[in-house]
Structures are given as C-alpha cells and as structure tokens.
Symmetry: none
Subunit: 204 residues, 4 copies
DNA sequence: CATGAATGAGACTTCATTCAT
DNA sequence: CATGAATGAAGTCTCATTCAT
C-alpha cells in the first residue's frame, strides 16, 4: 500500500492556497462540530473539494488537526504578542475577550483552545505542540515585563517577573474559559475585572 | 439540574445502583479517551455489563454524556464549596491543583471539564447545565465573601464582592487549564502564584 | 480508538461455526477473485452476514487471509499425508492432479496455493506460515521413505532420502503449477509422467 | 502473442521507448508490491513520468498488466531457450534457480510468474497468453531433445520426447515454486537435485 | 433482567482514471 | 506531448443501537 508515493510535499503557490482552503474549512468544522465529530467529508464540503483531494495536501486527518492546532497557537501567540506591545494591556485583553465571546473568527477560537488542551492529555504530538507554544508565550510576557520602559517594556524587577508572567498567563487562560462558559457576561463586569487584575499585577 | 436526562426504567434502588455503575465506568472512559472516542463497548466493559443493558438505564450515549457532565459539575461544586468553607482557601486551591495535575480521580477531572466546556458551545443542553452550575458556584463564593467573619465568612464589603468572586472563579478556571497544559509545573511556582493571588484578592 | 475492547476471543460453538462460515466464504472469494480483489463485502455477502459482523471473529482482513492460508496448508498436508500412507503414491498424485485441474473444492486450491506463495514474498507472516508447512511436509515425506517396509514405509537408505524427498516435493509443486496452467491437459500425458517420475524416484 | 494489447498512440520509436519505460517501471512495481497493490502512481513515479501520460500508451492498468505478463513470458521463453541451447542444461538450471532465489531482475521473476499463473485462472486473456507461451516452450524443449546430436540436440527417440519434455517443464515449474518458497535453500541441495533429475531425464 | 450477536450507517482512506492547462 | 490536480467509487473498519434468546 502507499507504495512509497509522497503525496504531501508541494510548495507551489497553488498547493499553498489549497492547504489554506482546507485549513480554513477544517477550522470552521472543528469549531462547529469538534475535532472528532467533524468528518473529512464535512471539511471537504466546506472547502468545496472532494474528500480524496485533501489527501494530496495532508497525510491524514491527524495532520489536519495538528496543523489547525499549530495555526491556532500561532494566532494566539500573535494576539498575545500584540497585546503587550501596546501599553494598553487591559484594553487589549478586553477586546480579545469580547471577540472570544462573540466567536469572532479573526481570533483564535476559545472553544477550540479548550478542546485542544483536553486532547493534549491523550495525544503526545498535540501535547508537544502546546508545550512549545506555552513556553514561548510565557517568555514573551516575561521579556516584555522585564524590558526597560524606554524600550516599550514595563521595567519590572527581574525576580518578580516569573511569577507575574505566570499569573498573567493563568488569568488569560481563565478569561478564555470564562468567555466560553459565559458568552453573555455583561461587558461592565469583565472590564472591571480585567482592570483590577492588570493594575494589581503590573504595578511595581 | 438533572434537566432532560432520559431514564428508561424506574427509580428502584437497584436501578439507581446500575446507573451509578454505568456513570462511574463512563467517567473513567471519557477521561481516558474523550467523549467521542470512548465507545459504548468500552464503557460496558468497564462497567462489567453488557452493552445492551446500558440502554435500559440510559436512552443513548448522549444521555450518558449529559449525566456525566452534570455529575462532574456536582462534584466540582462540592469541591469548590468545601474550599471556602475552610479559611485556608490558598491551601485548598493548591491541593486541588496538584490533584488536577495528577489526574486524581477523586476530584473533577480537569480535561473533562475543558472538553465539556467546549461541548457546551455546540450543545444547548450542556450549555444550560453549565450556566446553572456556574451561577451557583459564583453565588456560593460571593456569599462566603460577604458573610460576616463570625459566621465563617470573610466579611468583605458587598459592593466589592461581585468582582472579587468573579475574579476568583476566573482564576480557578485558569488554574484548571494550567493544570492540564502544564502537568509538570513545579509545586513551588504554583504555590507562590496561588498565595499571591489569594492574598491580593481577599484582602479588604 | 478500539478502547481496549477485545473482539475476537470467543470459544463458543456458535462463534466457531461463524468463523467457519466466514472462512468458507473467504476461501470461495479468494479463489474466485484473488486475495486482493476479494473485498470484505464480497466475503460477507457470500457468508450471508453483514461486513461488520466479521470483525467480531477476525481482527481484520489480514487475519482472514492468514487463517485461510493456514487452513489450505493443513488441508494440503492432510492430502499429502494420506498420499504416502498408501503404497499407491502415483495413483494418489494423479487423483490430486485431476482435482486440481477441476478446481475441486474438496482439495486445496492450486491457484490459491500459487498466490499465497507469491504473497509470501512480500508478507513475512505468510512467509513464516509457509516455511513451517513446507518443513513439515518435507519431513513427513522423508520419514515415510526412510521407514521400514513392514511399517508402511519404503525402506529407502537414509542418505538418499533427503534428496528424494526434496525432489518429490519439487515435483508435486510442479504438478500444482501445471494443473493451473494446463487445466485441459489430457489424463494420459499426466498419468505417464507421474508413473515415470514415481518409479524412478522411489526405486532403490 | 501480443494479443489484444490496446495501444493508444501509434508506433513511433519515441512511443515505443515510452512504452518500454512504463513496462520496466511496472515490472519493478509488480514484483515489489504485486499486481493489485502496485498503484498507477507508483508505476508513474518509478517511470519518472506523470500518471496521466501513461494513459497515452496504455488504455488502462489492465493493459499494462497484460503487457507485463506477455513480456515476462517472452523473457522466460528466452531464458528457457538459452538453457537448452547449451549442452549444460543442469548448470543453466542451477544458475536460473539461484537467480530466482535472489530475485535477480535480469531473469523472469518467479513470484510474478506464480501470480500471473493464478491470475490466468480468472482472466481469459491472461490464460490465453500463458497457454501460447507454454506450448512454445514445450515444443522448443521437445525439438531440442529430438534434434540430432550433430545439430546441437540430444538425439533422443521421438516417441519418448513428449513425456520427457513435459516432465522437464514440470520440473522447472517446481523449481520456480521452490525458489519462491525456499529462498534460503542451500546451493548444495538444489545442485544435487538438479543433477539427479537431468541425468535421469535426459539419458537415453 | 440480561446478554451479546447482528446490523447499517458512516468514518477514514486509496486509487484508477480524466481533463484543463 | 505532458502534467498533475481533481474526482468518485470503492475498500477497510468502527460503533451506536436493536432484538431474539
């Protein structure tokens, strides 16, 4: 079987576009149905191509799941990175939170984030991807906190940075879960909460 | 609570025991494989009964999933309730966190918690169950914070209690997600973080 | 997936009968279409059961193929064993040959024998099964040749027995291939040929 | 020979070369994977051309299979013809046998020979091709046996030639099957066996 | 009450073949 | 002449669910 035929190594723009189509469709399906309940057929239909064609671009469903996960992590990291590049962390968090609540497809989907976290418990590949992503986010946050104020950082003392970054990451995770579980939470509540945390957490 | 769980037979003690057997088995399977990947056959085997028999006590797999979710919520609420009944919230949080990391079956499983949260996005019944549970937990926490010190509460001012309770719930959620994503996090880090949050959050 | 459920270990008479049904059906299909072209669906239809049910009795198609192969080898060995128990080896060979030509289902099918030999080139499990069977047949033949005449043997000298047995096995293989390739070969030709070989090969 | 092979384009030298490329590639794939398991994609890759292009030279996969079979028969006949052109039949048989064991691609592949024989059971076109080839080989052998010694033949009496030729063909078939089933058979064993058969079979 | 054999739908995946470029 | 993207049918296998016993 398979007979030694490589079917996934293509670098043409066309192939890249197809992969993109598939990943977008997969993302929509995974969000709508979940990783397991989303079938290759549903993804193919969403991507408006035959199911068989997808196998020219991804070795199997697992590869698509993994690609989506890495994509989401990238997006998440980008979001987070942009967060602290602004001095307005609180505002940015609020913005992200409301997008999570609204399931705005332009940001990493929160439910998918939860599902992939749970899946990491069982799938070593996913676990590895998550670990890598988490470490990067954490060091991004810590770096920003520690950097001098004139370089766009917060100028916080190095010894307190690790705990602060960890707490911030933890809080953001809590926000993600909250956005999923309380999609109707009034904006005021969340705004106050975020302001309160950010001011306490990032004050010298 | 208990909304819409279809039961096929009546409420004899025997039937109740059977249901319990099934739910315990299902919980173990769901934790090990996830909601979708766990098969009715695996649950039956774990429960040491035939697959067919399970249908006398639950209408279908969905009903079992829903029952498990409600069960986990009950357990979670019990855990949380016991948390604040003690004055040692920080210690209790630390204890729960390490159990989550270790996947101790005696506390609500964190990965299952995430998975059911994600599932709530797609299933209105599950969403309703979660909403109910969350509201109860929140009011438990707020009540405890507001209650007078001589009644085992914290005696915090009523106007700050809502935000504090919300933040605490959010932090706990963050801890759950963290326990799943960083099962190897050293105890020191988490202990410091919890202490720090609790002291800042619950000080007048 | 699979979730640790054993699905093939049954020893009830019922299960044994089902396995038998499946193997008979599989044998017919393999003969009619070949190992690869015979689909699980065709086997299921022939066995008059659903395709899914077969997986309760055999782990996968490979297991069925292997079981058929071992079955054919058993049958072949039985045939061979009965051959030399009689002093009429030539007659027996002639009888088998004509059955091979006629594709008499009561003896090991010759085409299947060829196909499984070719398959052994690629599948180590099949190769192992064949090796074992061949060794047994060879030792059966050698033993019979060497055994004393009063014990139903040929009383041939031990030092010539290995070559004679090997040549006989080789000739029998040639007959199998010939039966497949020349199903219309007139009986006279083959009778003369067999007589000639047997007399030359087994004379002291 | 060559009966019924559909060709899509005309007989330019270029086209002939392309066909040759395809057949060489197909032969390698069929040997490695078998007729059914070898995919058109694997053949195309081996032939270093696109899958689509092959359809310019062969109507479909069946046509390639048939062409390969006819090719193998040609090669086989050539091999056999060269065998008896030498006075050293035994040496030549030994040589061929070891090549079969080693799967030397320069001689007809034995496993493929078995597979196509089995396939002849199901496909009339293949059966016809085999019948033709066998008849030719047989008459070659008989002719050589009957021809006068001064003409490079064996000068055997005409009335015994048919049986002898048939037996030789049968023995060669047995050798092919043996080479496949016992690829590790020690050279000594097979050498003795061949010498023994040849001397008995070709002595006046 | 209980079993587990049986089904049928549907999942993932492969592959011969076609066709626009 | 040549490509390789695309399709659709078919194949293997799983599993929730039912039902005769």
């Amino acid at each position: 079987m398979n007979a030694g035929i490589a079917r996934t190594t293509k670098d043409t723009p066309r192939a890249e576009a197809q992969r993109e189509r598939i990943l977008c469709a997969a993302q929509r399906c995974f969000i709508e149905y979940g990783f397991h309940a989303a079938s290759m057929a549903s993804i193919a239909e969403t991507a408006q191509m035959s199911a068989g064609l997808m196998y020219r671009y991804f070795e199997n469903k697992s590869a698509i799941v993994l690609a989506i996960i890495e994509r989401q992590l990238q997006e998440g990291r980008t979001q987070i990175a942009q967060l602290h590049s602004s001095s307005e962390l609180a505002a940015a968090l609020y913005d992200v939170f409301t997008r999570w609540q609204a399931r705005d497809p332009s940001v990493m989907n929160a439910a998918l984030f939860l599902e992939m976290s749970a899946e990491a418990t069982r799938d070593p590949q996913i676990a590895a991807a998550l670990r890598g992503s988490d470490a990067l986010i954490l060091s991004d946050l810590a770096g920003w906190m520690n950097r001098a104020r004139e370089d766009g950082g917060l100028g916080l003392p190095a010894e307190s940075v690790a705990t602060r970054a960890f707490l911030l990451e933890c809080f953001i995770r809590g926000l993600a879960l909250t956005a999923v579980r309380q999609p109707d939470l009034p904006p005021g509540t969340i705004k106050d909460a975020i302001d309160s945390v950010v001011s306490r957490l990032l004050s010298p």
